[in-house]
């Protein structure tokens, strides 16, 4: 009963709040207040975003966050409880067949029939997607070459293929009709670095032409090939933007890595004179040459490498080997964004500074570990 009321309320809110739909030619995918409820579980709630034509979007989120549900709604596989999804300005619910022509989808786990040969399967898929037999034949040859399946693998039974080759068959299938939008759920899972590079190059070659939505847990890969990133957690969009803008929002602290030798307490004191709130953490203790490696994190945007260098060079007993500004990785951004959303859900005040503490601070002693008695 509660669910029925919730669904009804969602619909009313959606109808009342949504303005008359305008087709925006530059927008390829538009999701407006998408909500999907399975029984008592709300898989996604009020998910809204836009993806421009030719853009490559990385869709991130922890397991069970609602990534696959959102992707399945966009493909017309699952109907949203409320909200509107359009592909190329066409409503997914009103014209599912038209939308399915515009979308190439590679589902999670990439299900493939084990008994068919690669070429047979792709020809069958091509015809299912509306290509004529001759056209399907020609397109299959193209995608086989594109995905490096045209040699030995083309006549191989799918059941005998390795994980990497199976993934490539799934990607070839998604690209088969040269669709306007390609949605891939974990496309690089199980691929070796060489195969991952092939997929990345493939996406790069089509950048600007096709719109890609890629869900992945391999965050460095997403950062390398995506123009924009969308992070979903507990069914809600918690962050969206380019990796630079997300870095600015979630990890505003500047970080430096320093490798130096000398009297450490004095050096830390001098560095702190630049910013008393500077956080200094040890990454590595003394190496064989007596050099300390540590990281600095500061919220003061005015602090640059030159200033740090000047401080270290003040005292001739300090020997500097390395100083580098370290950009926060997408993994850190992802952790900060999801952590903030959890804190908001639990009603806690979100942390003001998005510093992800990787190691205990240098001048705070680590609590002694309890020795395990046998």
């Amino acid at each position: 009963m509660v669910n029925v009321e919730k669904r009804f309320a969602n619909w009313v809110r959606f109808i009342a709040l949504s303005p008359p739909r305008m087709i925006k030619p530059e927008i390829s995918i538009e999701a407006t207040n998408l909500t999907k409820v399975y029984g008592s579980l709300t898989a996604i709630e009020d998910v809204s975003f836009e993806i421009k034509r030719g853009e490559v979007l990385g869709f991130l989120g922890p397991n069970g966050a609602g990534k696959s549900t959102t992707m399945r709604i966009l493909c017309g596989l699952v109907r949203a409880t409320s909200g509107l999804a359009t592909i190329g300005g066409i409503s997914v619910v009103e014209y599912p067949e038209k939308v399915k022509r515009l979308v190439g989808y590679m589902p999670e786990n990439n299900p493939l029939p084990d008994e068919l040969r690669v070429v047979e399967y792709l020809r069958y898929r091509g015809q299912l997607k509306g290509l004529g037999p001759r056209e399907a034949h020609a397109r299959v040859e193209e995608v086989l070459e594109l995905c490096d399946l045209h040699r030995k693998a083309r006549r191989q039974i799918i059941g005998t293929l390795s994980k990497g080759f199976r993934q490539r068959v799934g990607i070839a299938d998604a690209l088969l009709t040269n669709p306007e939008v390609v949605i891939m759920d974990e496309p690089t899972i199980g691929l070796d670095p060489h195969q991952t590079k092939i997929i990345r190059d493939l996406i790069n070659n089509r950048r600007g032409g096709m719109t890609f939505v890629i869900s992945s847990h391999i965050l460095p890969e997403v950062e390398l090939c995506c123009d924009r990133i969308l992070i979903i957690n507990q069914g809600r969009i918690v962050a969206k933007g380019t990796s630079a803008s997300l870095r600015e929002e979630y990890i505003p602290a500047k970080a430096f890595r320093i490798k130096a030798k000398g009297e450490l307490e004095g050096l830390i004191g001098e560095l702190r004179s630049l910013d008393p709130e500077m956080e200094i953490s040890a990454l590595m203790e003394i190496d064989e040459d007596g050099f300390h490696e540590f990281s600095l994190k500061t919220l003061n945007p005015g602090i640059a490498g030159e200033q740090l260098l000047a401080v270290i060079q003040k005292n001739s007993s300090w020997v500097l080997r390395e100083i580098a500004e370290v950009e926060a990785s997408l993994e850190e951004i992802f952790l900060a964004a999801t952590k903030r959303s959890w804190e908001e859900t639990l009603g806690r005040k979100p942390k003001k500074i998005g510093i992800v503490q990787m190691e205990p601070p240098l001048n705070e002693p680590e609590p002694p570990k309890e020795s395990q008695s046998e």
Partner: protein, 253 residues
């Protein structure tokens, strides 16, 4: 019905490369050969060998149809390939209809092959050497027509059972149970309740209408009534209709 022909071609191809189809075909032809051999040994009889041959049609149907249809939707649901198919412009109706048509074509092909026994016998045995006819056109055509008409419902029952589960084994058992009840259920009911005419008045025409063996008898005699057509085709439509709804609801969850 976009994609129906593609699904149909694919389904026939997959059935032809599936070991279960070969097992079903081999067992079916072996059983029909044994049936025909026993029929010939029992000759001369009041009935024609072809009529007797078709009277035992239910025996191979009970295992052949489950073997042919068990994997059609259940396996695709288990593997997740049904979901992939639904991401194309193909509709659930085309998927179910294509799978049904594929299994039905193979089902009929097996029966056509089984007819080779009476046809070959009639060619091999010189005319007039026996005091009965090996080949009579009307019971042969009537029997085959009955098998074709009733087969729509039997194969549809198999597709329906396959749509309900992800397990091929459960689908096969469910299909066997449905076919057993449909083909032999009322025969067993009559056997235990005595004479069909003792059944209460208002139930009698309904039960009579459902009697598979009476329909087969009529077809073999050349009596083609429209009622069995309505019964089998409408049942097939209902079963396939439910399968379409199941595919639409369960595969897209």
């Amino acid at each position: 019905m976009r994609g129906f022909l593609t699904i149909l071609r694919h389904e026939i191809f997959v059935l032809l490369i599936s070991p279960a189809t070969f097992v079903a075909g081999f067992l079916f032809l072996l059983m029909m050969w044994l049936v025909y051999w026993q029929v010939l040994k029992a000759m001369p009889s009041k009935e024609l060998p072809v009529s007797l041959f078709f009277q035992l049609f239910w025996l191979p149907v009970l295992f052949m149809v489950p073997l042919l249809t068990m994997r059609s939707i259940a396996e695709e649901r288990r593997m997740g390939t049904l979901e992939s198919t639904l991401t194309t412009p193909t509709t659930p109706l085309a998927i179910v209809a294509g799978k049904f048509a594929g299994a039905y074509v193979v089902f009929l092909s097996f029966w056509v092959l089984a007819l080779g026994y009476p046809i070959l016998t009639s060619f091999q045995v010189p005319e007039g050497s026996a005091n009965f006819s090996f080949m009579e056109a009307s019971p042969l055509i009537g029997g085959l027509l009955f098998v074709a008409v009733s087969g729509t419902m039997y194969v549809a029952a198999g597709i329906f059972a396959s749509s309900l589960t992800r397990s091929q084994l459960v689908a096969a058992m469910l299909c066997f149970a449905i076919l057993f009840m449909v083909i032999l259920g009322e025969q067993i009911l009559f056997t235990y309740s005595g004479n069909p005419e003792t059944v209460p008045g208002r139930w009698q025409p309904i039960l009579d209408y459902l009697r598979t063996f009476r329909q087969l008898e009529d077809f073999s005699r050349g009596i083609v009534d429209s009622r069995p057509f309505v019964l089998y085709f409408s049942s097939a439509f209902v079963l396939l209709g439910i399968a379409v709804v199941v595919v639409e609801r369960k595969a897209t969850r």
